[in-house]
Subunit: 233 residues, 2 copies
């Protein structure tokens, strides 16, 4: 930072909260932890934790990912979303929390970490009516909107898929995250002709009751120009 005056001993705590997203049976799903302690004991919450002194923000995020979600760092795309710091958001004091989203392909069921009553994947549909701890509903909403919008103009969708995938699977990512259906033919044309999006492996997947689909892997590009816009907004 840059203020010129030394601050008093601050009682502000810094934390990270993680919105870990994956696709489970074609449903966009988020990893939640059931809290074992107060506050919000018994409520479902995003995995998170305080930053340790001298620790990188991303380092803390990976640590939480490993401790609370039993996920290694290689498997996910991690990206900062926004920082939440409204004083009353945590009853224990003034906690400023940096929200990250972590996207991964078919992530495994979490092992239950310590101080955690339970941990499981929730499809977004199942979360309707569930009240999350703290301001985590807002954090979740922000991360999901970020993910939805980044699918439009980046190649982020591939982070939801394994190394090798078909165009149908890629289209499935868009359909699941956006909650709509896309024309298969038009999507195929768009995906295969976007520079840097896909690399044709010139092999085919095992057929699933129809013509076998060609396999691709993620290309070197990160942005989609022109973007792949959601309809009707």
């Amino acid at each position: 930072m840059s203020s010129s005056s030394e601050s008093r001993a601050s009682e502000i705590h810094v934390a990270v909260d993680l919105v870990v997203l994956t696709l489970r049976d074609g449903a966009l799903s988020v990893l939640l932890i059931q809290r074992e302690d107060e506050p919000h004991r018994g409520a479902w919450a995003l995995p998170g934790g305080f930053i340790e002194h001298g620790e990188e923000l991303e380092g803390a995020a990976y640590r939480v990912l490993s401790d609370e979600a039993s996920l290694g760092s290689g498997a996910v795309h991690l990206e900062q979303v926004r920082t939440f710091g409204t004083p009353g958001r945590d009853p224990r004091g003034h906690v400023v929390s940096v929200a990250f989203m972590a996207l991964g392909a078919d992530l495994p069921d979490p092992l239950r970490g310590e101080d955690v009553a339970d941990a499981r994947w929730w499809s977004l549909a199942d979360l309707d009516g569930i009240t999350l701890a703290f301001d985590h509903a807002t954090v979740l909403e922000a991360a999901i909107e970020r993910a939805r919008s980044k699918l439009e103009y980046t190649t982020l969708a591939v982070t939801f898929l394994p190394d090798e995938f078909t165009i149908s699977q890629l289209r499935g990512v868009y359909e699941s995250v956006w909650g709509c259906s896309l024309d298969a033919g038009n999507f195929h044309r768009k995906a295969t002709r976007s520079e840097g999006f896909l690399v044709d492996l010139e092999r085919h997947a095992a057929p699933t009751g129809g013509r076998p689909a060609r396999l691709y892997r993620a290309g070197p590009g990160t942005s989609l120009v022109p973007p792949l816009l959601r309809a009707g907004e």
Copy 2:
């Protein structure tokens, strides 16, 4: 946040840094402060300051804007960019800083705040070769890229203009921020036909050596669909 264990007395400090951008004579310009104290005494830096206990992040940003830039809150568009927390970024200790960008129309010259040797607007071109304090070059870069990219798919450009403006002025914003020139006719068509972007005031500005330009004000829309894409990226 959401960690279940109470943290030890944290020595992590939380700050905000501001990237205040405006157009000065058609040049995208940023407000910088010359530091009066160590560290980085004499270096130019972004205005910033520590969060006070119980203070909102945005509240702190507005406070800094008022204290160090003598800018009221009504005049600017304030938006979070990203949070920087690499431990070594501030030699005084572990400081996590939430970066904001503040965009305004033709902002006034700053009054020199306390603990500040000097304060002035820098056009981006003039900043070439100037070494900023802390990691502020990175923060500035992130904010500018955010602003550039948000011009594409939002109506953010109007925040660089006064309440009433002409299409030429609006095009000037795009040209200044993107550092390119745009076809006047095509831009006019795009701007006037984007739903919610502009409201026609059905009046004209005083002529400036040619046909007088029609006046507009910002419309209710916030997103541009389809976006107004920068060429060649």
